[in-house]
Amino acid sequence: MNRRITISGSSLLLPNNRAWEKIKLYGEVSHNDYGDWSGSLINAAIDEIVVQIIFLDDFLGASDKTHFDLDKIFNLYLQLLKKSLIAKTAPTIIAIASCDEIDAVRNSKETSLRQQAQQYLLSSLHELASSNALLYVIDLDRTFAKIGYNCAFDSRNWYFAHCYLSSKGLEVLTDTIYQILNRHFNTAAKVLVLDCDNTIWGGVIGEDGISGIQLGSDGLGQVFKDFQIEAQKLARQGVILCLASKNNEEAVWDVFEHHSGMVLTKDDISASAINWNDKASNLEALSISLGVGLDSFVFWDDNPLERDQMIFQAPKVDTVDVPKDVLSWPKLLRTLSCFAKFQITEDDVKKADQYRSRASFIEAKASTSDTLSYLKSIDLRASAIEINGGTISRAAQLCAKTNQFNMRTVRYSEADIERFCLENSSVCFLVSVSDVYGDHGIVGLVYLKKLSGEVAFLDTMLMSCRVLGRHLESWMLNEIFLRLNKLGFKSLVGEYRETEKNQLVKSFFTDYGFTQIQSDSLNDSAFHNLSITDKSTFFTRKVDEGSLPFLEIYNV
């Protein structure tokens, strides 16, 4: 990996300290000389990750002034930052700490100047971050609050070497940076699988019976109820909730329907495996019926034996190291970093419904012998959606997450996609689909660019796996040809770039009437812009070369 990460700050940040090791996963780490934090904004290459740690004392001076002109103090810095973000293709992370120790007496009447300054800078930065997908802001005051201010800072280190932080403080800081980089480069987990007995309620339903389990408003019952509240919140933010429990299925659903303390409803659960099989096999079955890889699964079980078995049999699953102390569970579930996302899109909110309808679609399709007439009967409707401020985050999300139905698997950022939309020779649109099972929301992305006057290149064509089996690709290709025809293009070139996960579309181009291009024809001037990897195969098809298979199942 040749990505560079430049760390800068106004105080010494202990370069080469072990705490920075984890950041090296994301690139080659270098530290600017301390104090040179504006330099990293001015001099960083556009593809360089910039991390800045700012202690407000360095802006404000340590003196005890009674008034600050905040506009004046921060304006230059904010201008510099804005300028540095232009054309940036790698993340910039800004962490700020107020270095403000609370004075209980004075702060009982007014906010301190440092607190005001911190709030001013934070809100300016967050405003910038909301419109710039590559800017991330860390509020170190709140981050450090987790371990305590006195624990995060160390005045000995300050007087010895101008290092504000303690080892512990540095550890927390680098952990936080790591979390952000991790989520920037890797997608969040999608599925939470919960055990039932002693997990979503206290006790064992098979032994204690519905009146004997702990769940509700007193004692431990309250804790399990809070745990369910957190699980439900996750479900409403798009995490797919599943159950894996060794139980009689009827007994579990009986609790769901008849226990007054239950928060989770049957509707919150997208799929379940309640039986006596081993849980690893059950998760594998869930993975197939949901169409989500096991590496997107998180498993929560109170029983350490079940957890160990899962780690051993299904190492791809993220098995939560559940502490014995049940009281800490609701908070732990709320703060699990594997589900943390930068933002929650409207589409995330609908996801539980969509996965449930996927499961019913697969069941119904399996029970029909004539697939085509079945598909005709479910009222499939697709439409193209333009990319704009409201949909661009979904476009970037699809680009980041889609592995299976993805021809080239090039991961574009929001900034990239915004740029494509502005190029006037290219075509970029999203696709949504609905049927009798529900509105599946935005599930596809197409980006076409011009190779020559008459030849277009299918740079990106991808589709979320949850709508597979509906031949939506046929509708998408038709839409592509309609648009290309209108723009005067005569043929389309496509590339299949093989990855570990996109075998599904290996035969897509030949299935849809494309012919493979021999490598010598790639020397033609029309193709000279293509980047060729050893995993690439190229195909071409005329824009008006007859009808497409399966198109009749859509109401075009």
Binding site: L14, P15, N16, N17, A161, C163, S167
Partner: protein, 81 residues
Amino acid sequence: MFDLKALQDVFVKTFPTAVIPDNFSDLRLGDFKEWDSLGNFNLLLAIEEMYEIRFDIEDMSALKSVQDFSQRLDSLGVVTE
């Protein structure tokens, strides 16, 4: 008595890419490239964490060799065996 082997582990963890010379008990700041003054600071913090002790500010500038470390750890009552 305090065990040098454990201290050696702290060196390996603090300087993962360094080639640490064999005469460990005689080593001092500057004896290999990574052990510069910043390296020494990181080392002192790692030793503190390892033995759950705290050096005072005089220690931070006075302790510069394996011998210094083991004497100070002895005087702080660190026992690892």
